[in-house]
């Protein structure tokens, strides 16, 4: 995160705490779509996702006054969105079941070399085929709002685990996309 971005977040939080309507609109306008995209990757149903998004915003408003590090606003927003989504998932299924799909996926050999992803449409499609654990780390990575340390903080896991999970997720995504390409060829 650049110094400019950090100051911008602090300023935005301060203005929101002052209940400036334009600041709240700016906050929602800036973060509504990324948060929705992230939540949609965790919860499949669109209607439920919108409900979780609404819950997230309510929690954001309630917690803005207590936010200790306003410069880490994006991390905080994603954390709240994640907790809201997981709470929803827990109420629907057990968390274990939600993450179970990962174990069912086949191992991908470590031979992929080019792991660059340029096609957003393919990524979008590929994400839906990944396990929840891989999907959420890769979604946060592609949304480009957080550093690896911040992703680790949002997911409540060590940075090393984020790196390895990200590595495996990219390889799996690439394998899925290649498989898809070959089936169309």
């Amino acid at each position: 995160m650049t110094e400019k971005e950090a100051v911008y977040y602090e300023l935005l939080v301060l203005r929101c705490r002052q209940r400036q309507r334009d600041a709240l609109e700016e906050l929602v306008r800036t973060w509504d779509r990324p948060l929705l995209y992230y939540i949609r990757r965790l919860v499949e149903d669109e209607h439920e996702s919108l409900q979780i998004l609404q819950q997230t915003w309510v929690k954001v408003l309630q917690g803005l006054g207590r936010l200790r590090e306003p410069r880490k606003l994006p991390m905080w927003l994603y954390s709240i969105a994640r907790k809201s989504a997981l709470s929803h998932l827990r109420s629907r299924y057990s968390e274990q079941a939600a993450f179970q799909r990962e174990a069912e996926l086949p191992d991908i050999p470590d031979e992929s070399t080019d792991l660059r992803f340029e096609d957003a449409e393919q990524i979008h499609y590929g994400l839906s085929r990944l396990s929840l654990r891989h999907r959420e780390v890769l979604t946060l990575f592609f949304l480009q709002d957080l550093s690896l340390e911040e992703i680790a903080s949002v997911l409540e896991i060590p940075v090393g685990t984020v790196k390895s999970r990200l590595h495996h997720a990219k390889r799996t995504l690439k394998a899925i996309l290649e498989q898809e390409e070959s089936s169309h060829a």
Partner: protein, 205 residues
């Protein structure tokens, strides 16, 4: 923060547009941020508080008619002002809590602090008036000392009301000024960071 290709992010976000109109959704979210829906229990509670406020207003009006001292015993302007303030706070409190109970929301239009503030002021004035009303008969027995006692007590009560009210207002103004100063400093810091970024870019070319 890694932003190797910002367009990938933007294109991903474009792919996730909800069915509802984005602008409407945004406005709804802001409205949700500014307003808090009240539970049925909270609405009932506020309704009861509104009824209590209305009863106190009625009591104030009754006291006005019953206990307003005739000219000469006590200045009508002093007692009249106290009762008027009490009635005014009571009416505002009743209207606010009643409206919130009916509307079912607290937030941008009616803030909880506003209801609490007017309620506290109304209760304070009511207690003062009640105490004053209980001691008022003293005037009949000892007009001179009784008047001094009552005026002194009324003056002390008004003094405390003004001191606490003034203190609250001063703290609020100080907090606002501090917040505004911090905002200005951050705006300045943001401009400096922006300038620094532009200079770095120019040097990199």
């Amino acid at each position: 923060m890694h932003r190797p290709d910002k367009t990938v992010r933007e294109r991903l976000l474009d792919m996730e547009t909800p069915n509802v109109n984005q602008k409407e959704a945004c406005e709804r979210q802001v409205q949700a941020l500014l307003e808090r829906r009240l539970s049925v229990a909270a609405r009932i509670g506020l309704g009861l508080l509104a009824i209590l406020g209305a009863l106190l207003v009625r009591d104030f009006l009754y006291l006005w008619r019953w206990a307003l001292p005739p000219d000469g015993e006590m200045s009508r302007s002093v007692t009249g002002t106290v009762w008027f303030v009490g009635v005014a706070f009571g009416v505002v409190y009743t209207a606010l809590s009643g409206y919130a109970a009916v509307w079912g929301r607290l937030g941008s239009r009616i803030r909880p602090s506003l209801i609490a503030g007017t309620g506290t002021a109304m209760a304070f004035v009511y207690i003062v008036v009640r105490v004053f009303g209980m001691e008022y008969p003293l005037l009949r027995y000892d007009p001179h000392d009784g008047r001094i006692l009552l005026v002194g007590q009324l003056g002390a009560a008004v003094f405390f009301l003004l001191v606490f009210g003034g203190l609250y207002l001063i703290l609020r103004v100080v907090y606002r000024m501090e917040s505004k100063t911090q905002e200005k400093l951050l705006q300045l810091e943001y401009r400096l960071a922006d300038l620094g970024e532009k200079i770095d870019k120019q040097q990199a070319r």
